[in-house]
Symmetry: C2
Subunit: 269 residues, 2 copies
DNA sequence: TTGCTCCTCACGTCACGTGAGGTGGC
DNA sequence: TTGCTCCTCACGTCACGTGAGGTGGC
């Protein structure tokens, strides 16, 4: 006969846990001293304790363990219980996989944006590679592009592999009736749903400027980049591009002062 | 201003949840009617509710959400919180992956054993393929083989790919001082630790009999299979094999009446 | 007396859900 | 009056862990 402390050391279950299992009737002691209330366990309980401990490590609920112990003594008999439990575990596994994926996406995106912010905010020239995009062309006001991005996101979410960008086909700024195209970089596997076109956007030499701040102050950055282009006598190729490196964010509306937009103007040689 | 019911429909959060968040101070209503106690929400609360709901979908604890909402309004600011949360989620993910793996192992093993039991218990002849094994040779009593199996299991657990088997080098039954070898089938990648040898066990033509029941009744089945062998004048090649298709089980000690052991005797041609 | 082991009982955890019993306005 | 919406308050969930306060034997 073992005291609860000794039995705890034998089984690796805490004294509190053993008392709890005793109260629940799951693992009753061999006897209880009627005077002191002391619980005493014997060797025959070790096996039962071991089974409970092992099933608990697999996070089988106590109610299921009680069922298993009530009617069976063989692994094969519990097969059904284990299969049902496996389904429970698979469901949780899938849930956490989904959560981990969303978290990874947010963290990656934010980290990239953060890395960008440490750059200097000077006009620079660089080479753009070609990029495959899903695109929706629109005429109207610029703030209507949000709906288009959302639509591409819903239709092709899994294929998106980069930051949203806007192509401007106008050569001047237009309040309304502007001609532009909302685009998302997508993987090769993406197939175009109706109303969304998928094509390759050619690369080329471009002049680029990072704009930090709200969208309604983009004008200032346009002024800077266009002066640079004119000073050097470059020839502008339309459409020009705006890449939204950091906008309202996946969770928070974000602080517009920290929005980050790259203006890209392709230039002829 | 919205009543709690209206606000619930807007945000997708239950009325009970909204009341709970209000009591916790996480999402206080815009105002509370002092007479009726009615909670009223305005548009400014929608965003906060949406943030809470989204973070809760990622299973961020309410305490962390409160911290996030207290000091920040930008995704980048919460990056640290999200990274820490990601670590939490990864830990749970790994835990459930481990559980799923153990469950799969048990279920597969039990299903195979179950499928075996439906066979007839007649002596049959069949061809054995070669199998790669990890082995510990011993002299002593048969019941000492358990320790050897456990040792192989601990050292090479990940590589084991089949049921344990015992090779008998004696031509007669010995109570003590028997000469036998405990083996586990292993994958090619397994590397031999000290005291365990890894080699290929050759295949060949064999006579086989399934024994159902406790180990101390193996004698009866040996009698049957040996009579079969002698009747046909086959020549026995040592070592003979016992494959433990179903023994005490991974969780339960199991019912010895349902133990399943295959006796395999290789025969010369 | 001190230290150790055991006991019971109440409460906390985490984020709500489930009633019970009651109110107020159409 | 009936039906609807809102309220508070208490309790349940799941498997224990954390004390507080007390006992019994060396």
């Amino acid at each position: 006969m073992y005291s609860i402390g000794e039995f705890s050391r034998i089984t690796g279950l805490t004294v509190k846990t053993l008392r709890f299992y005793a109260d629940e009737g799951l693992l009753p002691p061999a006897c209880i001293d009627p005077d002191t209330g002391y619980r005493y366990y014997d060797d025959s309980r070790i096996d039962r304790a071991r089974i409970i401990a092992q099933l608990r490590e697999l996070e089988v609920p106590l109610a299921v363990i009680a069922e298993i112990l009530a009617g069976h003594e063989d692994d094969a008999d519990v097969l059904g219980h284990l299969v049902r439990h496996q389904a429970r575990i698979e469901a949780r596994l899938q849930r956490y996989r989904d959560i981990a994926q969303v978290l990874q996406r947010i963290i990656t995106s934010e980290s990239e944006a953060k890395a960008m912010t440490t750059g200097d905010f000077q006009v620079q020239e660089k080479q753009l590679g070609p990029v495959r995009i899903a695109a929706v062309r629109m005429q109207g006001r610029y703030d209507e592009c949000g709906a288009a991005f959302a639509r591409i996101g819903r239709a092709l979410g899994r294929f998106i592999c980069g930051k949203p960008l806007l192509l401007h086909y106008d050569t001047e700024y237009k309040e309304s009736d502007a001609d532009f195209e909302a685009c998302m970089p997508v993987r090769d596997a993406a197939v175009a749903p109706t109303g969304i076109s998928i094509r390759e956007l050619a690369g080329g030499r471009c002049v680029s400027l990072l704009h930090k701040g709200p969208y309604d102050q983009l004008g200032r950055s346009y002024e800077r980049i266009l002066r640079y282009v004119h000073d050097r006598g470059y020839k502008i190729e339309t459409p020009t591009r705006e890449v939204y490196l950091k906008g309202p964010g996946l969770i928070f509306r974000g602080n517009p002062k920290r929005y980050l937009t790259e203006i890209q103007i392709l230039i002829g040689s």
